[in-house]
């Protein structure tokens, strides 16, 4: 912890500043400190220390005042965050409440945030899939957004690099559309998931149901034990913070690793107001923060600045960093900063029953959640009336369906009776959305937050491509379920606002051409060479994989480049 009373510039000067301590910021901190740099991590929220600050992690269901349910007053005061599946009595303290950081919804957008050390890496669904060549070539092939300035071969070694440290469980499935990685043993599919996998394989040449790949230590290696993490205990209470470090979070892994170096300062309660740009030097010199406790404005200086504030807040910081040189936001010569925001379409689900395998069930809990169906639409060529495609979750389960009917001793007997249901199966879609000029975030011209920083105005919506894709998901999964002999098939779609997927991306996209993009192929600003963006804001397109693993890989790769450039005297 920096001594805040010392006011000298020297004490506020570091080799690098990392804005944000979550999924990607934690990686930046680890990589910089591993390379010997003296760094400052700025976090807008409070500190959350691994284990010590997980107050609910070892609580039994009966120890929660409302047995897990959120009180109505909290639900009514927080319509946005209350829509998030993980906002319950056990994890609500890790979510931003609606009034804590207001924003303007020009169109409905559920902005789900975690303002604390570790950010949303405490709360994520831990699904980790690599992108493939088909994903990076997508915009160029299909004529949307701009061409990605990299291809799979550029990022592949960095996927391997971060996977080994984070710990990813999975099978080597040998699929071109979902490249294999450095895997710990997979959590296996259960009887009906396996049956469905075999059925799909026999009926479709290009469709696969595989064990979901996830950031859990199914069998830790020495590098994980060195982080103080041990084997996943299959609690599936991950959103509370894991005392075993069984899943990857910045809190359990990268942040304590960076702090252990002795040359990393972590400063919580620090909202970044803007990045300071020096016109004479032609580069950024530091960061201006507001201390959320004292409301004091303080400047910190560094040679390299990494912006990892989470996709939309990164846009907010950059848009608010104005100067004579950059009147419309830092590095925004192109005018695309804040634009081409996209997300994932999670608005369709399907459920059914299967009348077989009654002699089999499962024992314990599956942290991976079941199976994963990689994108099979428009992979090798355009074949539908919509662009791109969707991945799907798939899981099968049985549950105790004990009857609550009646009263008295017969009810008591029913509540302990073994009454296992038959197999139920379920799937949800994860669709790619197309980044567009009209889906954007901007600074509100009048409204400010409690720190005097403009509020973010969000204007993002679905389009016709999303509707067509949703329809296709329902049709295709219905067909796959029907031919598998599943019964009572029920598809449902919802009208959720964008944002609830918590996969918002873009706004400061990568590209080859400085006229149409903000960042180059190294996640480095075209116009400000010592500023890098490696969180979701950098994404040129979204594909349909869960994005965190790709942010980790981008971050490690960008730090490696930034430090080598610094050593060469280029930044």
């Amino acid at each position: 912890m920096a001594n805040l009373n010392i006011d000298s510039v020297k004490d506020r000067t570091f080799d690098a500043i990392v804005i944000g301590s979550g999924m990607s910021g934690g990686w930046a901190a680890k990589e910089f400190t591993d390379k010997g740099l003296k760094i400052l991590i700025l976090e807008r929220g409070r500190d959350v220390k691994h284990i010590k600050d997980y107050p609910t992690t070892n609580m039994y269901p009966w120890e929660f005042e409302h047995r897990g349910e959120m009180p109505m007053a909290v639900q009514e005061a927080n319509p946005i965050v209350n829509r998030c599946y993980a906002f319950g009595e056990d994890a609500a303290h890790f979510f931003v409440k609606d009034k804590e950081h207001p924003y303007v919804q020009e169109k409905p957008f559920d902005w789900i945030r975690g303002y604390q050390v570790g950010g949303k890496s405490l709360l994520w669904a831990r699904q980790t899939q690599r992108w493939s060549e088909f994903d990076f070539e997508g915009p160029a092939r299909d004529g949307f957004a701009v061409d990605w300035p990299i291809r799979y071969k550029d990022i592949a070694p960095w996927y391997s690099y971060v996977e080994k440290f984070a710990g990813i469980s999975g099978n080597k499935d040998g699929l071109a559309e979902l490249p294999d990685g450095e895997f710990l043993p997979a959590f296996p599919l259960n009887s009906v998931e396996t049956y469905f996998s075999q059925h799909v394989k026999s009926k479709y040449s290009n469709r696969h149901v595989i064990s979901a790949r996830c950031a859990h230590l199914s069998k830790p290696n020495q590098i994980h034990l060195d982080q103080g993490r041990v084997q996943c205990q299959e609690r599936t209470l991950c959103q509370r913070g894991c005392p075993f470090g069984g899943y990857f979070s910045a809190n359990a892994s990268t942040i304590p690793w960076a702090l252990k170096s002795g040359h990393c300062t972590l400063r919580p309660f620090s909202v970044v107001e803007s990045i300071i740009y020096d016109e004479k030097l032609g580069k950024a010199t530091g960061v201006r923060i507001v201390d959320t406790n004292t409301k004091e404005t303080i400047e910190y200086y560094a040679q390299i600045i990494f912006v990892n504030a989470a996709a939309l807040n990164t846009n907010l910081v950059l848009l608010n960093s104005t100067s004579n040189r950059f009147p419309n936001g830092l590095g925004n010569d192109s005018g695309v900063l804040g634009k081409y925001v996209a997300f994932h379409n999670y608005s369709a689900h399907i459920g059914a029953e299967y009348d077989g395998f009654k002699e089999w069930t499962t024992d314990g809990r599956n942290p991976a959640g079941g199976g994963y169906i990689p994108r099979f639409r428009n992979v090798y060529k355009q074949e539908t009336n919509f662009l791109r495609g969707y991945a799907s979750g798939f899981s099968a389960y049985r549950y105790q369906q004990r009857s609550w009917d009646g009263v008295g001793s017969s009810l008591k007997d029913n509540l302990v009776k073994d009454d296992l249901s038959g197999w139920k199966v379920g799937s949800h879609m994860m669709g790619e959305t197309i980044p567009k000029d009209s889906n954007y975030v901007a600074l509100d011209k009048t409204l400010k937050d409690q720190w005097g920083i403009p509020q973010l105005k969000i204007s993002v919506e679905y389009d016709d491509n999303d509707e067509k894709m949703k329809k296709d998901y329902v049709e295709q999964l219905t067909e796959m379920f029907t031919t598998a002999g599943f019964t009572n098939i029920k598809a449902s779609t919802d009208n959720r606002a964008p944002g609830l997927d918590i996969h918002e991306m873009g706004g400061a996209r990568m590209g080859n051409d400085p006229k149409t993009s903000v960042l180059n192929k190294w996640n480095q600003m075209h116009a400000v060479k010592n500023v890098f963006v490696t969180d979701g804001a950098c994404m040129t397109s979204t594909s349909c994989q869960n994005p965190s693993l790709t942010y980790m890989a981008f971050t490690a790769r960008a730090v490696d480049y930034a430090v080598s450039e610094m050593k060469k005297g280029n930044i």
């Binding site: 009966w62 005042e65 009180p71 299959e234 314990g364 942290p367 009263v407 008295g408 008591k412 509540l415």
Partner: protein
């Protein structure tokens, strides 16, 4: 008659310790602090009797032993919309009237069989348009019933002695014979 008296006395003895704070409470008010609904001591007793009818003491603990009626009140106060809380209060008055009309007695004065019969007559009416049992009465009964069972199945007793809850399973067996599971 004899059985009821025994149950009553037993409940008094076992529940005595838990009820102690009630001696110091403001006369006529519920024994726990509530923010959004007003519940009298008599009403609390009614909900306690209903909860005990739903989850009676047998050779294992019942609703009163586990203070489930206080959990019902807590959940009513904290986790329901205003409209549901109002319906609960109206439904509770209707319930008292209906008992009086049907048995010419209070719920507390009924035999266990009559109490069960009364509750089941509401529960069995699944028709939302039914006029014999009002929407408020159904809401009242639904909350008492639902939260009593919720409180019971999520109680420490139930989760350690009846259907064991594992905080740390430490395993995932994807293929597990159902027969072996039943044997556990």
């Amino acid at each position: 008659m004899h059985r009821r008296t025994v149950i009553k006395n037993l409940a008094l003895i076992i529940g005595g310790a838990a009820l102690l704070p009630a001696c110091m409470q403001e006369k006529g008010k519920a024994s726990i602090a509530l923010k959004n609904v007003e519940i009298s001591a008599d009403q609390e007793k009614l909900i306690g009797d209903m909860a005990e009818t739903i989850i009676p003491k047998t050779n294992t603990p019942g609703a009163k032993d586990l203070n489930l009626h206080l959990f019902v009140l807590k959940m009513l106060d904290d986790c329901y919309k205003k409209a549901d809380q109002q319906a609960f209060i109206s439904g509770m008055a209707q319930f008292t009237d209906a008992v009086k009309k049907k048995y010419d007695n209070s719920f507390a004065g009924l035999s266990v069989k009559q109490r069960e019969e009364m509750l089941l007559s509401i529960e069995k009416d699944k028709d939302p348009k039914s006029i014999s049992i009002s929407a408020e009465l159904k809401t009242f009964y639904g909350i008492v019933k639902g939260q009593t069972v919720n409180g019971y199945t999520n109680s420490r007793y139930f989760m350690t002695k009846r259907v064991i809850y594992e905080l740390v399973p430490g395993r995932y067996n994807a293929h597990f014979p159902y027969k072996q599971k039943q044997a556990v």
